[in-house]
């Protein structure tokens, strides 16, 4: 990653940052992909339209939402369905949904919509084309949907407590991009300014989905209540996000894309280092931080989970926020590198949740130092894949030790250290995780245990002369090729490796999911088991028609009460 700003405080050590427990405590920040998108669309004055809304009284039909930027347009094609309750499931093995979507590259013709209507509703069982950038689906929150339709149809506004307790009317259960099911490859859009950052097409798709869901619920209320039906109050609509259920399928992503994941983490770490290096803050910068802290407290108070692990983390976070408020009250936040002092204090006094929240929050006053890092979060380095066979064995061993020193002495034969195995099921071709010693899965194991594999390669390399070239080793040991590749990648991607055991009996895949989703900008992580999580996206954000430079960024923090 290119960097120009001067930093006197260096980035945090990968050994500290890349532990799964910390990655599983990350929070959104200025560099989160949703905020990058909404800032850009507001700055560039994108326009939005709804060229089609052809949905019947039962809620079945199609709608099109088009977003137009300086260079091109993108359209969400949304299909609304009448789904019997017994078919509603967030699991990836579902075969029908309340609504299905494709993000079309441009403005679709009637023929395009006709083609998509024969494929998009079937999701994985259909095919899309190089004109589509993503494929997704969503299910209603049954109880909130029914409540909102009922209230609005009777001319009343929904109960704020119910709105707050659920937070969304629909949740997406998969958003596929990057060439999946026939869609356009990432390469097709990677050089467009507005799509350069990671997951911008997917984030745009969800942003437009949220507008569709609001329009659909109002449409259903009108269909039931006729003239007496009310529209949703703007402040209520604004509070609603789009939920998302994310399962194990997403967890391997951050292992399978070490350079990309490095770029996300490295950008945030660089941002943190830059802000910690600020010698003195202005009064306005300190005030900005205090405002965002107060708004974070409100957000944290609305964050609910029934999962025991998250319940405990939320209790710790509540204490952390109290301690942070007290520390901040006792300090003017102006002198002697205030943000570095805050971070060093947090490392001694707060839980990982609180530490990472503080690290994200100090970035808020410093858009001019931070926001320019967003484009560096994409992965353009295709050559990182290519192995340099002229590297001596000794150097390769050193690289492995650098990332995986902690793993080399672990007893990898002990059952607790290799209790799990990742595999792909025949059923939906989705990654799953199973019990190595209880299920017949180890022969199908996916390469998602880089630490164990690194220890094996490191041991095999011990038998080779230090000056021997790695090409010779690989000719005899092709089984270590993927590990050699990753070790060499670590030279350009120091934050590319998770420094925890991804197959131990205690691994929590939800930590991997949260690490990824925090970069999307998700909030209110609610694990539903150790391997799937619900989140909320765009809660508090303006809707397309109301997006301005004044509200395009800080929407993620709920407004403090006046």
């Amino acid at each position: 990653m290119e960097t120009t700003a001067q930093t006197t405080i260096s980035r945090r050590d990968p050994a500290q940052v890349m532990r799964l427990s910390r990655l599983g405590s990350l929070h959104q920040c200025r560099l989160s992909f949703m905020r990058v998108l909404t800032r850009r669309m507001a700055e560039e004055n994108w326009s939005f339209s709804r060229p089609k809304f052809d949905i019947d009284a039962k809620g079945v039909g199609v709608a099109v939402y088009t977003a137009t930027g300086p260079a091109r347009s993108y359209s969400l094609v949304a299909f609304a369905h009448d789904l019997p309750p017994e078919m509603r499931s967030d699991r990836v093995i579902a075969t029908a949904w309340d609504a299905t979507f494709a993000l079309f590259d441009g403005v679709p013709t009637e023929a395009d919509i006709e083609r998509l209507s024969k494929n998009v509703p079937y999701q994985e069982a259909g095919r899309v084309s190089g004109s589509e950038l993503s494929l997704s689906r969503a299910n209603r929150s049954v109880r909130l949907w029914a409540h909102v339709v009922e209230c609005l149809s009777e001319g009343r506004q929904p109960d704020p407590a119910q709105i707050e307790s659920v937070g969304y009317l629909m949740r997406t259960t998969a958003v596929y991009g990057s060439g999946k099911f026939g869609a356009a490859d990432r390469d097709i859009i990677a050089d467009r300014a507005e799509m350069k950052g990671p997951f911008q097409a997917e984030m745009l798709s969800v942003f437009l989905t949220r507008a569709f869901v609001r329009d659909l619920v109002e449409h259903m209320a009108r269909a039931r209540g006729g003239d007496q039906a009310a529209r949703m109050a703007p402040e209520t609509a604004r509070q609603l996000g789009i939920g998302n259920s994310t399962g194990l399928g997403m967890a391997p992503y951050i292992v399978n894309h070490p350079v990309l994941f490095n770029n996300w983490i490295a950008a945030r770490e660089e941002a943190i280092a830059r802000v910690r290096s600020v010698e003195t803050a202005t009064g306005e910068e300190a005030a900005c931080f205090r405002r965002m802290l107060r708004r974070s407290e409100i957000s944290a108070a609305r964050w609910r989970s029934e999962h025991p692990v998250q319940v405990e983390k939320l209790a710790a976070l509540a204490k952390d926020l109290e301690a942070l408020a007290a520390w901040v009250a006792a300090d003017d936040l102006l002198n002697d590198r205030p943000w570095d002092r805050l971070i060093r204090w947090s490392e001694a006094e707060l839980s990982l949740e609180g530490q990472e929240l503080a690290a994200s929050l100090i970035l808020e006053p410093y858009g001019e130092l931070v926001d320019e890092l967003a484009p560096s979060m994409a992965d353009h380095n295709k050559d990182a894949f290519v192995i340099d066979g002229s590297m001596p064995v000794s150097k390769l061993r050193g690289l492995i030790a650098e990332s995986f020193g902690w793993a080399l002495d672990l007893d990898w034969d002990a059952r607790e250290n290799c209790a799990r195995a990742w595999y792909v099921s025949e059923e939906k071709l989705e990654p799953r995780m199973g019990e190595r010693f209880e299920e017949p899965i180890s022969e199908y194991e996916q390469p998602l245990a880089p630490a164990r594999d690194a220890a094996l390669a490191h041991a095999a390399l011990a038998d080779w002369d230090a000056d021997e070239l790695i090409a010779g080793f690989l000719l005899r040991h092709p089984e270590h090729r993927h590990t050699v590749r990753r070790a060499q990648m670590s030279q350009v991607a120091p934050y590319g490796e998770i420094r925890s055991n991804t197959i131990s009996d205690r691994v929590l895949p939800i930590d991997m999911l949260r690490a990824k989703l925090s970069f999307f900008g998700a909030t209110h992580f609610d694990p539903r088991s150790d391997r799937w999580v619900r989140i909320c996206m765009y809660a508090g954000a303006p809707y397309p028609e109301g997006l301005t430079t004044a509200n395009s960024d800080l929407w993620v923090y709920p407004e403090a009460e006046q």
């Binding site: 309750p85 499931s89 699991r91 990836v92 093995i93 084309s129 190089g130 929150s141 049954v142 109880r143 060439g179 999946k180 099911f181 026939g182 356009a184 490859d185 990432r186 390469d187 097709i188 259920s245 399962g247 194990l248 029934e306 999962h307 894949f385 290519v386 192995i387 340099d388 066979g389 002229s390 792909v424 099921s425 025949e426 059923e427 989705e430 799953r432 995780m433 199973g434 299920e439 017949p440 899965i441 199908y444 090409a471 690989l474 000719l475 005899r476 092709p478 089984e479 270590h480 090729r481 993927h482 050699v484 590749r485 895949p509 694990p527 539903r528 088991s529 150790d530 391997r531 799937w532």
Partner: protein, 209 residues
């Protein structure tokens, strides 16, 4: 049918793994197949031919016995493992051409010669009986016809190419080869059991509320 290059890559990786190659070589196979498709060639058919050769079952017999001198084995060289070695040893092409053979599916060497060309920052020429190919890493020019097996290949860091040619952004593989890849890929999928359905994907609290 039209596939995205990402689909080609994902299918090729699973297929190579299903045919018995280790993950690192499966990764090479997937990138190589994608590269061939981007050149407008049927990379899936080439990979299918290679996988049906069954080299992975006894790979040591199908890799160069020694990296010095001409690359040979007692049996046909596997172009996937040999291609990976060629990419690994790219810098040696600066000193001398690399001869190798006999080798199966010489078309599968082309993507690895392309990786070498990228590392060298120069064109690489691949020559065999009845054909010659030149690549600078992104553009490929082939004269003649690539055989199913080549008695010998010579690879050297030289050659020149016309200005850049457009790359394909979609693949339309022949059905037969694509079916072969899917057959091999299927071997990497664990049969679903009721237990894995419940536990493996991690059902927990209700997902219909």
């Amino acid at each position: 049918m039209s596939f995205s290059l990402n689909e080609v890559e994902a299918t090729a990786k699973r297929a190579a793994r299903g045919a018995g190659y280790d993950w690192g070589l499966a990764e090479e196979a997937s990138k190589a197949t994608r590269w061939l498709c981007a050149q407008g060639l049927d990379g899936a058919a080439v990979l299918a031919g290679l996988l049906e050769g069954g080299f992975a079952a006894n790979l040591p017999a199908h890799v160069p016995q020694n990296l010095s001198g001409s690359w040979q084995a007692d049996a046909l060289l596997c172009p996937l493992a040999t291609g990976a070695a060629l990419s690994d040893c790219a810098m040696r092409l600066q000193q001398a051409p690399q001869a190798m053979g006999p080798i199966a599916q010489p078309a599968f060497i082309l993507p690895f010669a392309a990786l070498a060309a990228r590392r060298l920052g120069a064109c690489v020429t691949i020559e065999g009986e009845g054909f010659q190919a030149v690549t600078d890493g992104s553009v490929l020019q082939v004269e003649g016809t690539l055989p199913d097996t080549a008695a010998s290949l010579t690879i050297r860091a030289e050659g020149s190419l016309p200005a850049s040619a457009p790359l394909a952004t979609r693949a339309e593989p022949e059905e037969a080869g694509w079916a072969v890849l899917n057959r091999f890929a299927h071997k990497t999928y664990a049969p679903a059991t009721e237990e894995s359905r419940l536990l493996g994907a991690g059902a927990g609290l209700s997902d219909n509320d």
